[in-house]
Symmetry: C2
Subunit: 222 residues, 2 copies
């Protein structure tokens, strides 16, 4: 699905959006929503890029993919740009999410305001631990793994978040896929194998710390 | 510090490693450590890339930056490759980490095995809540924010992880930087401004879900 950092469309052509530019679009969106709350009706590429450490040339290049929204000397209309980015990212609608593995990380994710703000709604909780099954958290009941097919069908969850121990991750992912889940956000430190047609994004928190260590070390050069 | 996805060295030249390739190096490392545990003394670029969805050409390109380790028909020596990647990433030594904001996410991070495995040791905890100060978690005492300079100095923490509410993040980051922290891993959904010479990696969990939604939507094309 991903080749040299670019997404391949179903017809074999490459998407105009690279993984890096998708990541930047999310960051622009977050910044634009803040500017919108502050009442800014237009924004320049320089202003948008500045806080994110992105050059204005890169901002203009990223946003050119979304249509001709920018006007020389005026900038981009903030609200229209938010709408265009949400459409490009596929979040101009709600996404229902099932969460498997109700530990500390899951509790943090359940209370994370950024998810509902961006249209992601956690609608189902699962855990393998019988002592947790039946408990309620944030208004949701925890179900056992045997209930995955029934609850996914009933809630219409499309995406799955895995916060299970690494040795359980592949089995749980397989069960979610069999139940109709179309994308998995994996927090378990393991490489998952998913069938074609099911998307995967992995969040390896040690990778993030490694990137930071690398940057700090680069600064050591001088 | 970051320009068009490439790192700039202190002398103004660009690093040979792009942000994307640094991310892939971390993933190769994770896979190689698994192969090493399974007893594999050599590995081919195709085998290494396969599980990660990366082409073998891309693997060879990424690893070429680390020196001439690969041999045609034999592959890469697993252990030497692990050592070379750890050196390139700056994790061929221990890094001490201070964690600020002891909620659910912090508790999950404290128990996350991937950090100590990769040489990241959490050595200090801070929280603004007086009812938490003085408590012990995983053998560490929680200190108040007024203790940041003294505890950072005493522990020698170089990196900071922020798991505080977004409205508190900039103030806490400033306090860490004043105390000598050289890099910040930020989980708060806010754009931080840090002085030159202090590195920043932000983990916006909604961005990860947005990337997943984008991929699932792409799959809709067919």
């Amino acid at each position: 699905m991903i080749k040299d950092g670019h997404y391949r469309e179903a017809d074999g052509s490459e998407s105009r959006l690279s993984r890096a530019s998708v990541g930047r679009l999310s960051l622009y969106l977050r910044r634009l929503e803040g500017l919108l709350r502050e009442g800014a009706t237009t924004v320049s590429s320089g202003h948008l890029g500045e806080a994110l450490g992105v050059t204005d040339a890169q901002v203009r290049k990223d946003l050119a993919n979304l249509g001709n929204l920018g006007q020389a000397g005026i900038g981009y209309p903030t609200r229209e740009l938010v709408t265009a980015i949400r459409r490009a990212l596929g979040i101009d609608r709600e996404w229902s999410v099932a969460l498997v593995g109700v530990g500390n990380l899951a509790r943090a994710l359940l209370r994370y305001r950024g998810f509902p703000q961006q249209g992601f709604r956690i609608v189902a909780l699962f855990d393998a631990d019988p002592s947790k099954v039946g408990q309620q958290i944030e208004g949701l009941t925890i179900y056992g793994l045997d209930q995955v097919p029934a609850v996914i069908a009933a809630t219409g969850a499309e995406l799955g978040m895995l916060t299970v121990p690494h040795e359980a991750a592949q089995g749980v992912a397989d069960a979610l896929v069999a139940a109709g889940i179309r994308g998995v956000l994996n927090f378990a430190p393991v490489v998952l194998r998913l069938p074609a047609g099911v998307s995967l994004v992995s969040v390896d928190l040690a990778v993030q710390l490694e990137q930071l260590a690398f940057l700090v070390q680069l600064g050591d050069v001088d």
